[in-house]
């Protein structure tokens, strides 16, 4: 298997585990599932982070913080789909989880200003009528300057 193929295998395994459990796996879990050494998986994590596909925990490269659209840590963007719960990194990613999982489910969040709960629901690949506006504070070319806070 080439390095590129292995990186793809790691990427797909992370998505599969996140999809099936609601949890983003760490390097040891992916290594066990793929039957490969932890170090090879960590190298793949770094390649995916360099390619802006992942954000790793700064103090622990065994752990992914963001496997877009999934967040490994709780966020204000909760997703309920296929009978499981997930967290998106932002409202865009939370909706992205619904797309990735087939286009049915809900995003539960709240207005950052007034804290009112807000819900977006997608059924059959279509957003149901909803209120609210989605705001991007950072221009596209600067998203990866500090992606965790974008």
């Amino acid at each position: 298997m080439t390095e590129l193929d292995f990186t793809t295998s790691v990427r797909l395994q992370v998505i599969e585990t996140a999809r099936d459990t609601g949890r983003v796996p760490d390097a040891a879990e992916v290594a066990k599932l793929l039957g490969r050494p932890d170090a090879e998986v960590i190298d793949a994590f770094h390649r995916l982070a360099d390619a802006h596909v992942y954000v790793l925990e700064p103090s622990d490269p065994h752990r992914i913080r963001m496997a877009n659209p999934f967040s490994a840590v709780p966020t204000p963007f909760a997703v309920d789909a296929n009978g499981r719960n997930y967290f998106g990194n932002c409202v865009w990613d939370a909706l992205g989880i619904l797309s990735l999982l087939g286009g049915d489910g809900r995003v539960e969040t709240h207005c950052p200003d007034c804290r009112e709960p807000l819900r977006l629901e997608v059924r059959g690949g279509r957003l149901t009528p909803s209120t609210g506006v989605v705001h991007f504070g950072v221009a596209a070319r600067h998203w990866w300057d500090d992606i965790v806070h974008t």
């Binding site: 793809t8 990427r11 797909l12 998505i15 599969e16 999809r19 390619a51 802006h52 596909v53 877009n68 659209p69 932002c90 409202v91 865009w92 990613d93 939370a94 909706l95 992205g96 989880i97 619904l98 797309s99 990735l100 286009g103 995003v107 969040t109 207005c111 950052p112 200003d113 007034c114 009112e116 807000l118 977006l120 997608v122 690949g125 957003l127 909803s130 209120t131 609210g132 506006v133 989605v134 705001h135 991007f136 504070g137 950072v138 221009a139 596209a140 070319r141 974008t150």
Partner: protein, 67 residues
């Protein structure tokens, strides 16, 4: 990227910079961006491809430029 109740709340929160879009645009953006993420052949979009996705849902102008 945050979801606000309305534009008044965006302004009150101090987000006087940036761009707002409808929830429908956000869904279309998310769907175009992530629908194929689990495909084995997925690769990260080039700047031109990403800008084409933005433009396809009406997101144009300097804010959405990557190149």
């Amino acid at each position: 990227m945050l979801l606000f109740r309305d534009e008044e709340h965006v302004a009150r929160y101090g987000q006087n910079r940036g761009v707002s879009m409808t929830t429908e645009q956000a869904w279309r953006l998310a769907d175009a961006w992530y629908r194929d993420r689990a495909d084995p052949g997925w690769r990260r979009k080039t700047a031109a491809e990403a800008e084409a996705v933005f433009a396809s849902i009406g997101l144009t102008g300097d804010f959405w430029r990557l190149g």
